[in-house]
Amino acid sequence: MELNAKIPPGPLKDKWTYYKDHAKLVNPANRKKLDVIVVGTGLAGSSIASSLAEMGYHVTSFCFQDSARRAHSVAAQGGVNAAKNYKNDGDSTYRMFYDTIKGGDFRSREANVYRLAECSAQLIDQAVAQGVPFGREYGGYLNNRSFGGVQVSRTFYARGQTGQQLLLGAYQSLMRQVAAKTVSLFTRHEMLDVVLVDGKARGVIVRNLDTGEIERHTAHAVILASGGFGKIYYLSTLAMGCNASAIWRAHKKGAFMACPSWTQVHPTSLPQSGSYQSKLTLMSESLRNDGRIWVPLKPNESRKPNDIPEEERDYYLERRYPAFGNLAPRDISSRAAKERIDAGFGVGPQQNAVYLDFSKAIKEQGKPKIKEKYGNLFDMYHKITATDAYAEPMMISPAAHFSMGGLWVDYELMTTIPGLFALGEANFADHGANRLGANSLLQACVDGYFVAPYTVSNYLSGEIKEPRLEIDRQEFVDAEVAVRAHLSKLLSINGSKTADQYHKTLGKLLYDYCGLSRSKAGLLKAIGEIRELRKDFYENLKVSGDEDEMNGELEKAGRVSDYLEVAELMCQDALTREESCGAHFREEYQTPEGEALRNDEQFCFVSAWQYQGEDKEEILIPEPLTFENVELAVRSYK
């Protein structure tokens, strides 16, 4: 099978315009006859649900949280990029496109990335119109800050709560449509399967998490905006409920997964303090604008950070990457931190952290200015660690954060199942092998507000004659039976280990062998151990309670059962990519200075994986990447 990304013809800068001019439309009278299911109410889910509802389609929207406003987009801190060039510092759509392609280590599609940059300016307009209180200059105009991996200031922000404010804008738009009865919103509902009829996505099976009831819902198209699955590492910056279940179950129904092993490990998270720990809190990358990262020059240093004189500190990012310094991209910064920590220079009680120091910025700009920029982050740091970061450096450490990989989608954001779309972090599309800071909020919003409204309509134009389906059709009955069987199986094992115990073991395996650095031997070992763990899971899992009631443990067990399968594919994906690119660092492929060594001749493609059935090896189908507008360069931030 050959993958067709459906890139429109014409020069790069005209492709999206060409698409919009030629996309098929559905007339307003017909839109009322068409239903769309949206799974997830984060930025991508809320924005597409409200956009489609405003157009006149009927939308059914699901989220597992108790309110749509709580989806994990809410936690993004630092900002959102847009090529507005308000700072007049040389920014442009092309430069943003180039930064993103380069940041992704030349492993994403030119046309997709250009579209992302092109729509970025519109997003800021949209958010401001919704009442998002972005930071402003004293003259009343919008302000910007810098983020990692670029040399211009193009990041818009609402203090350290940009994700929350953007999400509230999208959530409010969604609730406006719920009030208008154009969206039926089901909170505390989790998607457990997608239903195909005649090869097309026509509905979902969901579980009401408050009552345990299983429900069937039909539509003419299904959109998955279910976010990323970095929580597979157990300790991560993600919310406890973030999962791969929606996309994984779609994968098992025929949607290809692309580059699942490409996980961004964020350089500035709080370090782990003990085995009881449930999550790692992120400190926004924007802190690196004013904070300097260092470790002591002496290994196993025992002095307090403020007692270590300037000449005995190693500002290793400034040393290794003088052009970008503390603003080097995330993959590079995380790896550099790991290198120092592994070499014995780590700080903190577990020697697993590095310092992020604001003393110079405070000296130069004054404490009030720093407080205005990052006040809530310093407060958060104090709440968690009981340490005053105005007085001594923060301690930070790398943590699993963002899934660049996800469901393979074409230019229209449609998966390999007709009528099944994937938006936001749930898809693999724009970020390549490494995402630049402040591009995730952007991608989720651009997919939902500006891209999918056109592409979903284009698809629906061919479905006008399809009637609404009855939910007692055989396809829905079969899907529900399978879902119930899986839940009963999890409950019936009645062993001696909790879902969390399996999740923690799996997470540790992935951090060790499929995290910041990978090797053939390690990945092979991990695959063997994951298979053992999966077998053990179905023999010794313990879930209390019943199926037909609220049961948080059953939810967890279901998610972990999927993670145990996703993890194997991640390792398979990392094993077959015999090069280093972006977040994927294979120890066998590096330069003498320890930098990533890409292999464009053999690996300039997206790895799309096709499911073959339980316990069978998946088949790799490459989508070659062609670069007509940029030269494949060695990514240097020196």
Partner: protein
């Protein structure tokens, strides 16, 4: 540390609940409060008992999903913190901790510590938005907004919708939650146009949801994790009075 827990257990809204005693032997001061709850649940599951249901998700104080009354205070003994950000170092060896759900007429109990806060969503549905369609908004810098106004709007918009204000208030009033949205949108020129209609609709919905009136005890501000100011309530009352007169 050894910690004694008294936790509210209730099967569903229709069944009476009660406080149940538990003891945890190996609590570490660095644990977060919810990690302590995880430890308890792990014990309960392995013993074949039903774990305590509680709401939580991001565990970094921003999603607003977690919330418990801890020793009678919303989100526990430290002011301006969510339950997930509370750490066991705030307690000492041998302490007894009382854990109850966020109570209020507008927040029916679902099970144990989980309550139904969908009333907040319905208040937003009533008018907590700017009626702009997606896709074709005007240039963002077209309307300059002073730095002070933008910052002030942000202060109101920072609400995370956790419901601590309701749980703390002796009247179970949702005035702080509702007023934060009213004020956020009224402070911005984009939102001002609809402000008259908005405040009337949101306040009416707030009343319909069985939340009590505000009697200015200001307890809500004391507990609010985002330190949302009661001045928002004053702003809402002013907007409401003005709208009632001019409608």
């Amino acid at each position: 540390m050894k910690i004694y827990l008294k936790i509210w257990r209730q099967n569903d809204a229709g069944t009476p609940g009660k406080m149940v005693d538990y003891t945890l032997d190996n609590v570490i001061p660095h644990m977060s409060f919810l990690e302590m709850m995880d430890t308890l649940n792990e014990q309960l599951i392995l013993a074949g008992d039903r774990p305590v249901e509680f709401d939580h998700d991001c565990r970094e104080g921003i999603c607003g999903q977690c919330g418990m009354m801890i020793n009678g205070r919303a989100h526990g003994p430290v002011a301006h913190l969510t339950t997930c950000q509370l750490h066991m170092r705030e307690f000492k060896d041998g302490d007894t901790i009382y854990i109850e759900p966020f109570r209020g007429k507008g927040f029916p109990i679902k099970r144990d510590l989980r309550v139904d806060r969908s009333a907040f969503d319905r208040i937003i549905m009533a008018g907590g938005f700017i009626a702009v369609n997606t896709g074709q908004a005007p240039e963002a810098n077209g309307i300059p907004i002073s730095h002070e106004d933008a910052e002030s709007a942000f202060d109101s918009a920072a609400c995370i919708g956790c419901g601590a204000c309701v749980a703390t208030c002796k009247n179970s009033s949702a005035a702080l939650f509702t007023s934060a949205k009213v004020a956020h949108l009224a402070k911005l020129p984009q939102g001002e146009i609809e402000s008259r209609k908005r405040v009337l609709a949101m306040v009416q919905q707030m009343d319909e949801e069985q939340f009590g009136h505000c009697t200015n005890t200001e307890a809500c501000e004391v507990e609010c994790p985002q330190s949302i100011s009661v001045l928002n309530i004053a702003r809402m009352n002013w907007e409401y009075a003005l709208s009632s007169v001019t409608k």
